[in-house]
Symmetry: C3
Protein backbone atom coordinates (compact mmCIF):
# COMPACT_ATOMS: atom_id res chain seq x y z
CA UNK A 1 0.00 0.00 0.00
CA UNK A 2 1.33 3.41 -0.94
CA UNK A 3 1.83 5.90 1.87
CA UNK A 4 -0.92 8.50 2.12
CA UNK A 5 -0.03 12.13 1.42
CA UNK A 6 -0.11 14.32 4.53
CA UNK A 7 -1.87 17.67 4.76
CA UNK A 8 -2.11 20.78 6.88
CA UNK A 9 -5.02 23.00 7.94
CA UNK A 10 -4.05 26.69 8.10
CA UNK A 11 -6.15 28.62 10.64
CA UNK A 12 -6.28 32.35 9.85
CA UNK A 13 -8.20 35.49 10.82
CA UNK A 14 -9.16 38.47 8.62
CA UNK A 15 -10.75 41.88 9.15
CA UNK A 16 -13.60 40.94 6.75
CA UNK A 17 -14.73 38.16 4.42
CA UNK A 18 -13.69 39.91 1.18
CA UNK A 19 -9.89 39.80 1.64
CA UNK A 20 -10.13 36.18 2.85
CA UNK A 21 -12.06 35.24 -0.32
CA UNK A 22 -9.61 37.10 -2.53
CA UNK A 23 -6.66 35.36 -0.87
CA UNK A 24 -8.40 32.00 -1.27
CA UNK A 25 -9.00 32.66 -4.98
CA UNK A 26 -5.36 33.70 -5.48
CA UNK A 27 -3.95 30.62 -3.72
CA UNK A 28 -6.32 28.33 -5.63
CA UNK A 29 -5.11 29.81 -8.93
CA UNK A 30 -1.51 29.29 -7.78
CA UNK A 31 -2.15 25.67 -6.79
CA UNK A 32 -1.11 26.40 -3.19
CA UNK A 33 -4.36 25.25 -1.56
CA UNK A 34 -7.10 22.77 -2.47
CA UNK A 35 -9.94 24.58 -0.73
CA UNK A 36 -10.83 27.23 1.87
CA UNK A 37 -13.66 27.42 4.42
CA UNK A 38 -14.59 30.95 5.42
CA UNK A 39 -16.59 30.85 8.63
CA UNK A 40 -19.31 33.31 9.48
CA UNK A 41 -18.49 36.26 11.74
CA UNK A 42 -16.55 35.92 14.97
CA UNK A 43 -15.42 38.24 17.75
CA UNK A 44 -11.72 38.58 18.52
CA UNK A 45 -10.52 39.64 21.95
CA UNK A 46 -6.94 40.82 22.50
CA UNK A 47 -4.88 43.44 24.31
CA UNK A 48 -3.80 46.68 22.71
CA UNK A 49 -1.72 49.22 24.60
CA UNK A 50 -2.66 47.66 27.92
CA UNK A 51 -6.41 47.51 27.30
CA UNK A 52 -8.66 44.56 26.39
CA UNK A 53 -10.27 45.20 22.99
CA UNK A 54 -12.99 43.39 21.01
CA UNK A 55 -13.29 43.41 17.26
CA UNK A 56 -15.29 41.55 14.61
CA UNK A 57 -13.10 39.21 12.55
CA UNK A 58 -13.51 36.39 10.05
CA UNK A 59 -11.92 32.99 10.64
CA UNK A 60 -10.85 31.19 7.46
CA UNK A 61 -9.31 27.72 7.15
CA UNK A 62 -7.11 26.78 4.21
CA UNK A 63 -6.46 23.14 3.26
CA UNK A 64 -3.16 22.29 1.65
CA UNK A 65 -0.62 19.51 1.30
CA UNK A 66 1.99 19.37 4.08
CA UNK A 67 4.80 20.11 1.63
CA UNK A 68 2.97 23.17 0.24
CA UNK A 69 2.06 24.63 3.62
CA UNK A 70 5.05 26.92 4.03
CA UNK A 71 4.59 28.47 0.57
CA UNK A 72 0.84 28.83 1.20
CA UNK A 73 1.60 30.53 4.52
CA UNK A 74 4.07 32.93 2.88
CA UNK A 75 1.46 33.91 0.28
CA UNK A 76 -1.24 34.38 2.91
CA UNK A 77 1.05 36.62 4.96
CA UNK A 78 1.96 38.61 1.83
CA UNK A 79 -1.68 39.08 0.72
CA UNK A 80 -3.00 39.82 4.24
CA UNK A 81 -3.84 43.43 5.19
CA UNK A 82 -2.33 43.05 8.71
CA UNK A 83 1.36 43.39 9.41
CA UNK A 84 1.57 40.24 11.56
CA UNK A 85 -1.45 38.15 10.57
CA UNK A 86 -2.60 35.05 12.43
CA UNK A 87 -1.61 32.05 10.28
CA UNK A 88 -1.50 28.93 12.47
CA UNK A 89 -0.75 25.52 10.94
CA UNK A 90 -2.85 22.84 12.64
CA UNK A 91 -1.37 19.36 12.58
CA UNK A 92 -3.40 16.70 10.79
CA UNK A 93 -3.32 12.98 11.68
CA UNK A 94 -3.04 11.27 8.31
CA UNK A 95 -4.15 7.86 9.60
CA UNK A 96 -7.59 8.99 10.81
CA UNK A 97 -8.36 11.41 7.93
CA UNK A 98 -10.30 10.40 4.81
CA UNK A 99 -7.79 8.89 2.32
CA UNK A 100 -9.76 10.08 -0.71
CA UNK A 101 -9.76 13.63 0.61
CA UNK A 102 -6.00 13.58 1.28
CA UNK A 103 -5.47 12.37 -2.29
CA UNK A 104 -7.66 15.16 -3.64
CA UNK A 105 -5.75 17.83 -1.64
CA UNK A 106 -2.50 16.37 -2.95
CA UNK A 107 -3.70 16.39 -6.58
CA UNK A 108 -5.08 19.95 -6.38
CA UNK A 109 -1.81 21.32 -5.01
CA UNK A 110 0.44 19.62 -7.60
CA UNK A 111 -0.81 21.80 -10.46
CA UNK A 112 1.24 24.81 -9.48
CA UNK A 113 4.20 22.82 -8.15
Amino acid sequence: MAERPSMCLLYTTWPAAAPAREAAAALLEEGLIACANILSGSTSIYRWQGEVKEEGEIVALFKTAADRAERARDRLVALHPYEEPCVIALGVETGASAPGFLDWVEAETRRGA
Copy 2:
Protein backbone atom coordinates in the same frame (compact mmCIF):
# COMPACT_ATOMS: atom_id res chain seq x y z
CA MET B 1 -1.00 8.37 38.03
CA ALA B 2 -2.82 6.63 35.18
CA GLU B 3 -2.11 7.82 31.68
CA ARG B 4 -4.81 10.07 30.24
CA PRO B 5 -6.80 8.78 27.26
CA SER B 6 -6.03 10.61 24.02
CA MET B 7 -8.63 11.99 21.65
CA CYS B 8 -9.10 13.30 18.14
CA LEU B 9 -11.12 16.18 16.66
CA LEU B 10 -12.57 15.33 13.24
CA TYR B 11 -13.05 18.44 11.06
CA THR B 12 -15.70 17.91 8.38
CA THR B 13 -17.79 19.89 5.88
CA TRP B 14 -21.37 19.22 4.73
CA PRO B 15 -23.74 20.66 2.12
CA ALA B 16 -26.26 21.57 4.87
CA ALA B 17 -26.83 21.21 8.63
CA ALA B 18 -29.39 18.38 8.37
CA PRO B 19 -27.06 15.59 7.11
CA ALA B 20 -24.40 16.68 9.63
CA ARG B 21 -26.94 16.39 12.45
CA GLU B 22 -28.15 13.03 11.22
CA ALA B 23 -24.60 11.72 11.01
CA ALA B 24 -23.89 13.04 14.52
CA ALA B 25 -26.98 11.29 15.90
CA ALA B 26 -26.02 8.02 14.17
CA LEU B 27 -22.44 8.07 15.49
CA LEU B 28 -23.63 8.94 18.99
CA GLU B 29 -25.99 5.94 18.94
CA GLU B 30 -23.11 3.75 17.77
CA GLY B 31 -20.76 5.02 20.50
CA LEU B 32 -18.29 6.30 17.89
CA ILE B 33 -18.26 9.92 19.05
CA ALA B 34 -18.87 11.70 22.35
CA CYS B 35 -20.20 14.94 20.88
CA ALA B 36 -20.42 17.07 17.74
CA ASN B 37 -20.33 20.84 17.23
CA ILE B 38 -22.10 22.02 14.10
CA LEU B 39 -20.97 25.54 13.27
CA SER B 40 -23.16 28.14 11.65
CA GLY B 41 -22.90 28.66 7.89
CA SER B 42 -19.60 29.05 6.07
CA THR B 43 -18.49 29.67 2.51
CA SER B 44 -16.27 27.14 0.77
CA ILE B 45 -13.99 28.16 -2.09
CA TYR B 46 -12.44 25.55 -4.39
CA ARG B 47 -11.65 24.87 -8.03
CA TRP B 48 -13.95 22.89 -10.29
CA GLN B 49 -13.04 22.20 -13.92
CA GLY B 50 -10.49 24.99 -13.89
CA GLU B 51 -12.73 27.66 -12.35
CA VAL B 52 -12.85 29.07 -8.81
CA LYS B 53 -16.26 28.32 -7.26
CA GLU B 54 -17.95 29.41 -4.01
CA GLU B 55 -20.58 27.43 -2.18
CA GLY B 56 -22.32 27.55 1.20
CA GLU B 57 -21.24 24.67 3.46
CA ILE B 58 -21.53 23.65 7.08
CA VAL B 59 -18.43 22.89 9.16
CA ALA B 60 -18.98 20.21 11.83
CA LEU B 61 -16.46 18.96 14.40
CA PHE B 62 -16.74 15.49 15.90
CA LYS B 63 -15.02 14.56 19.16
CA THR B 64 -13.89 10.99 19.64
CA ALA B 65 -11.27 8.85 21.36
CA ALA B 66 -8.04 8.42 19.39
CA ASP B 67 -8.61 4.67 19.09
CA ARG B 68 -12.16 5.17 17.74
CA ALA B 69 -11.22 7.86 15.22
CA GLU B 70 -10.70 5.57 12.23
CA ARG B 71 -14.04 3.84 12.70
CA ALA B 72 -15.75 7.20 13.23
CA ARG B 73 -14.13 8.49 10.02
CA ASP B 74 -15.27 5.43 8.06
CA ARG B 75 -18.85 5.92 9.24
CA LEU B 76 -18.79 9.65 8.43
CA VAL B 77 -17.49 8.92 4.93
CA ALA B 78 -20.20 6.23 4.48
CA LEU B 79 -23.03 8.49 5.68
CA HIS B 80 -21.84 11.60 3.82
CA PRO B 81 -23.64 12.67 0.63
CA TYR B 82 -20.35 13.57 -1.16
CA GLU B 83 -18.18 10.98 -2.87
CA GLU B 84 -14.92 12.25 -1.32
CA PRO B 85 -15.96 14.18 1.78
CA CYS B 86 -13.61 16.34 3.83
CA VAL B 87 -12.85 14.42 7.03
CA ILE B 88 -9.65 15.77 8.56
CA ALA B 89 -8.36 14.41 11.88
CA LEU B 90 -6.84 17.24 13.94
CA GLY B 91 -4.19 16.17 16.42
CA VAL B 92 -4.92 16.86 20.07
CA GLU B 93 -2.24 17.48 22.72
CA THR B 94 -3.35 15.33 25.63
CA GLY B 95 -1.20 17.14 28.20
CA ALA B 96 -2.81 20.57 27.73
CA SER B 97 -6.42 19.38 27.29
CA ALA B 98 -8.89 19.13 30.19
CA PRO B 99 -8.41 15.70 31.86
CA GLY B 100 -12.06 15.45 32.89
CA PHE B 101 -13.17 16.06 29.31
CA LEU B 102 -10.76 13.44 27.92
CA ASP B 103 -12.16 10.95 30.44
CA TRP B 104 -15.73 11.80 29.39
CA VAL B 105 -14.91 11.33 25.68
CA GLU B 106 -13.30 8.00 26.53
CA ALA B 107 -16.29 6.82 28.57
CA GLU B 108 -18.84 7.89 25.93
CA THR B 109 -17.02 6.00 23.18
CA ARG B 110 -16.62 2.73 25.13
CA ARG B 111 -20.32 1.92 25.03
CA GLY B 112 -20.31 0.74 21.44
CA ALA B 113 -16.79 -0.76 21.57
Copy 3:
Protein backbone atom coordinates in the same frame (compact mmCIF):
# COMPACT_ATOMS: atom_id res chain seq x y z
CA MET C 1 18.72 31.38 13.45
CA ALA C 2 16.92 31.29 16.78
CA GLU C 3 14.32 28.58 17.26
CA ARG C 4 10.74 29.78 16.89
CA PRO C 5 8.50 29.69 19.96
CA SER C 6 5.76 27.07 19.73
CA MET C 7 2.10 27.70 20.46
CA CYS C 8 -1.16 25.94 21.16
CA LEU C 9 -4.76 26.56 20.08
CA LEU C 10 -7.28 25.73 22.81
CA TYR C 11 -10.66 24.70 21.39
CA THR C 12 -13.49 25.26 23.88
CA THR C 13 -17.30 25.38 24.04
CA TRP C 14 -19.53 27.60 26.20
CA PRO C 15 -23.26 27.89 26.94
CA ALA C 16 -23.25 31.51 25.66
CA ALA C 17 -20.89 34.19 24.36
CA ALA C 18 -20.81 36.23 27.59
CA PRO C 19 -18.89 33.74 29.80
CA ALA C 20 -16.47 33.04 26.94
CA ARG C 21 -15.76 36.77 26.60
CA GLU C 22 -15.33 37.18 30.34
CA ALA C 23 -12.92 34.24 30.45
CA ALA C 24 -10.98 35.70 27.51
CA ALA C 25 -10.70 39.08 29.24
CA ALA C 26 -9.52 37.43 32.48
CA LEU C 27 -6.85 35.32 30.75
CA LEU C 28 -5.65 38.33 28.75
CA GLU C 29 -5.23 40.33 31.96
CA GLU C 30 -3.30 37.42 33.47
CA GLY C 31 -1.02 37.09 30.43
CA LEU C 32 -2.16 33.50 29.85
CA ILE C 33 -3.39 34.00 26.29
CA ALA C 34 -2.54 36.37 23.46
CA CYS C 35 -5.96 36.42 21.85
CA ALA C 36 -9.32 34.63 21.62
CA ASN C 37 -11.69 34.09 18.68
CA ILE C 38 -15.31 33.61 19.70
CA LEU C 39 -17.23 32.04 16.82
CA SER C 40 -20.86 32.74 16.08
CA GLY C 41 -23.49 30.28 17.36
CA SER C 42 -23.19 26.54 16.89
CA THR C 43 -25.31 23.50 17.70
CA SER C 44 -23.91 20.80 19.96
CA ILE C 45 -25.17 17.22 19.77
CA TYR C 46 -24.43 14.74 22.55
CA ARG C 47 -26.03 11.96 24.60
CA TRP C 48 -27.59 12.56 27.97
CA GLN C 49 -29.12 9.70 29.96
CA GLY C 50 -29.35 7.56 26.88
CA GLU C 51 -30.97 10.14 24.60
CA VAL C 52 -29.49 12.28 21.82
CA LYS C 53 -29.81 15.97 22.73
CA GLU C 54 -29.16 19.21 20.82
CA GLU C 55 -28.20 22.50 22.39
CA GLY C 56 -26.95 25.89 21.22
CA GLU C 57 -23.32 26.49 22.25
CA ILE C 58 -20.52 28.91 21.47
CA VAL C 59 -17.14 27.70 20.21
CA ALA C 60 -14.20 29.84 21.34
CA LEU C 61 -10.53 29.39 20.43
CA PHE C 62 -7.76 30.65 22.69
CA LYS C 63 -4.22 31.25 21.41
CA THR C 64 -1.36 30.78 23.81
CA ALA C 65 2.30 29.79 24.00
CA ALA C 66 2.92 26.04 24.32
CA ASP C 67 4.50 26.49 27.76
CA ARG C 68 1.51 28.51 29.02
CA ALA C 69 -1.15 26.16 27.69
CA GLU C 70 -1.57 24.07 30.84
CA ARG C 71 -2.02 27.10 33.06
CA ALA C 72 -4.42 28.65 30.53
CA ARG C 73 -6.40 25.40 30.46
CA ASP C 74 -6.58 25.28 34.27
CA ARG C 75 -7.91 28.83 34.38
CA LEU C 76 -10.48 28.13 31.65
CA VAL C 77 -11.71 25.06 33.51
CA ALA C 78 -11.91 27.08 36.76
CA LEU C 79 -13.82 29.97 35.17
CA HIS C 80 -16.14 27.78 33.10
CA PRO C 81 -19.76 27.29 34.23
CA TYR C 82 -19.73 23.54 33.37
CA GLU C 83 -18.29 20.89 35.66
CA GLU C 84 -16.32 19.15 32.90
CA PRO C 85 -15.89 21.74 30.15
CA CYS C 86 -14.55 20.96 26.70
CA VAL C 87 -10.99 22.33 26.56
CA ILE C 88 -9.08 20.58 23.77
CA ALA C 89 -5.49 21.60 22.95
CA LEU C 90 -4.93 21.46 19.19
CA GLY C 91 -1.35 20.83 18.12
CA VAL C 92 0.28 23.58 16.04
CA GLU C 93 3.04 22.95 13.49
CA THR C 94 5.57 25.67 14.24
CA GLY C 95 7.37 25.38 10.89
CA ALA C 96 4.34 26.23 8.74
CA SER C 97 2.86 28.93 11.01
CA ALA C 98 3.61 32.66 10.61
CA PRO C 99 6.85 33.40 12.54
CA GLY C 100 5.78 36.96 13.37
CA PHE C 101 2.54 35.71 14.86
CA LEU C 102 4.32 33.06 16.95
CA ASP C 103 6.62 35.79 18.27
CA TRP C 104 3.65 37.99 19.13
CA VAL C 105 1.90 35.16 21.02
CA GLU C 106 5.13 34.52 22.90
CA ALA C 107 5.57 38.19 23.82
CA GLU C 108 1.94 38.64 24.94
CA THR C 109 2.13 35.62 27.25
CA ARG C 110 5.43 36.61 28.94
CA ARG C 111 3.90 39.57 30.75
CA GLY C 112 2.20 37.49 33.41
CA ALA C 113 4.94 34.81 33.56
